[in-house]
Amino acid sequence: MIQDKDRKREVIVKRVAQELKDGDLVNLGIGMPTLVANYIPEGIDILLHSENGFIGLGPNPEPGKEDLDIVNAGGLPASVVPGGAFFDSAMSFTIIRGGHLDVTVLGALQVDQEGNLANWMIPGKMVPGMGGAMDLVAGARKVIISMEHTAKGAPKILKKCNLPLTAEKEVDLIVTDMAVIEVTPKGLLLTELAPETTLEEVISATEAELIISENLKVMNV
């Protein structure tokens, strides 16, 4: 089991990046998912979607070189790549909801073995609003959850989510610091273990039932 916080994060985002294909349009959620952009494999050309209204989200501008008319979905200074396009919020969500977004990568509070996702509120505690999350999860062709496997030692991959859902049965893949898990019609399929991680550690850190792939591999990260 990886112990170092930074290494955990690196393993997750590197592994998520391997899921992206040439030409993909990808939306990276705020927080850890945005780091995926730093690990896109060579030869793979993707476009990033920013739900406030453009595709072609580029690198963060250097301090002092910010353009106040370009922010990302977190409201922070951003840039646009050549060949990008700005549009209004209706078009932004036409892209998301119309099935034109290839991949969305989001964090989670809980995921369950039916592919349900809870990532937008904790009643009585944290209610930031769903923003574009419900649209992204319901609309994207592929929904990848990137998160630490547990929260303070408690499993986040459950038999059944008990927090309010973001969407029903929409998650396709879960990538954590311990494992890669596919959501299949038969249940959760464990396909890869993280380096330095044992099958037993994954099973004990997961509340949901896991089907172990016959081809169980170690992540190449």
Binding site: N52, D69, S89, G132, G139
Partner: protein
Amino acid sequence: MDKIRTIDEAASYIKDGMTVAVGGFIGAGTPEKLIDAVIAKGIKDLTLICNDTALPDKGVGKWVVNRVVSRIIVSHIGTNPETGRQMNAGELEVELVPQGTLAERVRAAGAGLGGILTPTGIGTVAEEGKEKITVNGKEYLLELPLKADVALLKGSIVDKKGNIYYKKATRNFNPLMATAADLVIVEAEKIVEVGELDPTDVMTPSIFVDIIAK
């Protein structure tokens, strides 16, 4: 018809209790001067339709801090802790709407639609109180139009007839809000003569705009 007014004159069209739609995304593309003028006038009890409540010192976030609004319809309040605080204290009514649904509801009002069917929110609390309609075996939520008394926009270039061009990521909800209010006020970053904006480049046609504020 001269549509140009001062910021202060423009803000005077907003009255206590009105529903006001404001363009912008965490402050980008928001008419900051109009926001400030409304605060200065001591206007109260507004219902706000906006993507988010920005930051405490930015955009419509200032309306929350200064108690201009008593009800908000938004997709996200996480960037403004004061919104959550007032909500939890029962001082501010908050209706949370998925961002894409918010865009479609405002657009529906502007386009004369009675509603739209969306899969977003199925199986979540966003279902509550809404009619479900099944089309070809798939369930959708019926989402209803969302209209305002006044819309406040920020335009990068506005001609004197009211045609608007929005630069880069400042467009966001602005063109949608422009279609869905009885009175539309645009805060112009730059005003140009009629004819200077290429008709192909206009993003909000002049007919939607009642007042150009500068």
